[in-house]
């Protein structure tokens, strides 16, 4: 059943997400073409291709921002409309547990955000912008080698760092989506307010959970640094501390994600309040 739910969510949202991502790739492709023309031409063509390249990069950046914003809005609206408003009358009467309903939205959201990130990275590379700015594969490789060497010097594996950062990105993304969903569930479960006011309550719930989570994170990190007797003057220790901090950040985000998940699922199971 989870697979079917995901299939319907992907179908409903991909009508918007696929064209947006295709547009980004197209912009990147034309940018690369202009860069190629710029490289092989001279005189007027060189000037025109340079102007067009700049213009296309500008459109590429705008479309990247638009895609990220639209994906976020779409994920939020899909969750709200499909589970907490009128469409919820259908979804919550399907022979499916609220847990599966919740995870179908979560999996779809994660897939769309990850797709966006992959397409954005691919498009930036494809556009030729890094190359034009003097950052090629050789420079990236060199930077990686320097980073790995530097990290090893302080007794830390550079690849471990990179893997930790990737995991942190995924866990933080999951936790952020879960926080959005939990805020919506809180806003729509309270026994007062209708329509727009439930949205307002959800926004307030999001702001409160955000502030509380940030305070908790700061307190935890300061406490950890104090307990570990953090010494910024000791370069070798700093690298070790940062890797511990990275792991700690992953753990904190995972705990927040688990709390947000539980809030959403419990509210849908026990306090669903469709208008």
């Amino acid at each position: 059943m989870l697979g079917k739910l995901i299939k319907y969510d992907l179908n409903a949202c991909s009508r918007i997400i696929i064209p947006l991502n295709a547009f980004i790739v197209l912009c990147a492709l034309f940018s690369r073409l202009m860069l190629f023309i710029y490289d092989i031409s001279d005189g007027t063509f060189k000037s025109i291709s340079r102007i067009l390249f700049t213009l296309l990069i500008f459109i590429l950046i705008l479309s990247i921002i638009a895609t990220c914003v639209i994906t976020l809005v779409m994920v939020v609206l899909r969750y709200r409309n499909n589970l907490l408003r009128d469409e919820g009358y259908l979804m919550h009467t399907l022979p499916v547990s609220p847990v599966k309903l919740y995870y179908s939205k979560m999996v779809t959201a994660m897939l769309f955000f990850i797709t966006d990130v992959v397409v954005i990275i691919f498009s930036i590379i494809l556009s030729g912008l890094p190359k034009h700015s003097g950052i090629g594969w050789a420079e990236v490789k060199s930077a990686m080698t320097t980073f790995n060497y530097g990290a090893l010097k302080y007794g830390v594996n550079g690849n471990f760092y990179i893997i930790c950062i990737l995991i942190l990105f995924l866990v933080a993304l999951y936790s952020s989506v879960a926080q959005l969903f939990a805020s919506l569930n809180i806003g729509y479960s309270l026994p007062f307010g209708k329509g727009a006011s439930k949205d307002l309550i959800s926004i307030i719930a999001y702001i409160i959970t955000y502030i509380v989570s940030q305070i908790i994170i700061v307190i935890l990190f300061i406490t950890a640094a104090l307990l570990a007797d953090f010494n910024f003057a000791d370069e070798t220790a700093v690298m070790g501390y940062t890797s511990v901090m990275l792991c700690m950040a992953i753990a904190i985000m995972a705990v927040f994600a688990a709390i947000y998940n539980s809030v959403s699922i419990i509210l849908m199971q026990k306090k669903l309040n469709l208008e």
């Binding site: 079917k4 009358y89 309040n273």
Partner: protein
């Protein structure tokens, strides 16, 4: 005759307001029961509790012997009082959706009914008129071979011709061993198809009787009894 629905001492509160107050009721298989009451009496809340959209604060509900949950949802076919399809879906996609999630759903029956209504399967829900959207929902709900049908205001806001269609669709398609609960204000329209009626007021049951008994014992139609009981 076995009971398809059993509600035991259920109470539902919205904040401090009691919507359903210690209500107990049973509905037998093979019967069409009218759930009647004035606005705000708790009809929709009761139906939502049975459909599993709301949770009772107290008491227990069993549909087909199952507590309200995944198993009960497999045998309950629910028509809410509002449109619930994603507006961007095509009619054909809604049929596929029902077919994917409900084992008792008959795509052939749905397609045939929609054809008789001249509703284009390729049309998107958002392009349909309000009346046609309601008809699509009713067709899908009635194309299930469910054991309990919950129809909340199925004729609300539609013209008399559409009301006739709705009643015909319900009578023609419901499984004769199933129970049907119809919540409505339009008593005179549905009275002819009802076996039993439940009168509900302020979340409490006022009366649960067969239509035949009301006519023979009280010498009244359900409509006139309703007007008498709920007179302002």
């Amino acid at each position: 005759m076995e009971n398809i629905l059993e509600c035991r001492n259920i109470t539902k509160r919205y904040g401090s307001k009691v919507a359903i107050n210690n209500l107990s009721v049973t509905v037998g298989s093979g019967k069409i029961t009218g759930l009647l009451g004035p606005n705000g009496s708790g009809k929709t809340t009761l139906i939502k509790l049975i459909a599993g959209i709301l949770n009772a604060d107290e008491g227990e509900i069993f549909a087909g012997g199952n507590r309200i949950g995944i198993e009960s949802k497999k045998i309950v076919s629910y028509l809410p009082e509002r449109p619930y399809f994603t507006p961007g879906m095509k009619v054909s996609e809604t049929i596929k959706f029902f077919s994917d999630f409900y084992n008792d759903f008959s795509s052939d029956a749905a397609e045939s009914m929609l054809k008789s209504l001249d509703i284009n399967p390729d049309a998107r829900i958002r392009t349909l008129s309000k009346g046609n959207r309601e008809k699509v929902q009713l067709v899908l709900v009635m194309s299930r071979k469910a054991k309990l049908y919950l129809l909340d205001e199925p004729m609300g806001g539609v013209d008399p011709a559409a009301r006739d269609f709705i009643l015909k669709t319900i009578l023609k398609n419901y499984n004769e061993n199933a129970g049907v609960i119809i919540s409505t204000h339009l008593i005179s329209d549905v009275e002819k198809v009802l076996d039993d009626v439940i009168f509900i007021k302020n979340g409490q049951m006022m009366l649960h009787e067969s239509v035949d008994d009301i006519r023979s014992n009280k010498g009244k139609s359900v409509d006139s009894l309703f007007r008498e009981v709920f007179a302002c």
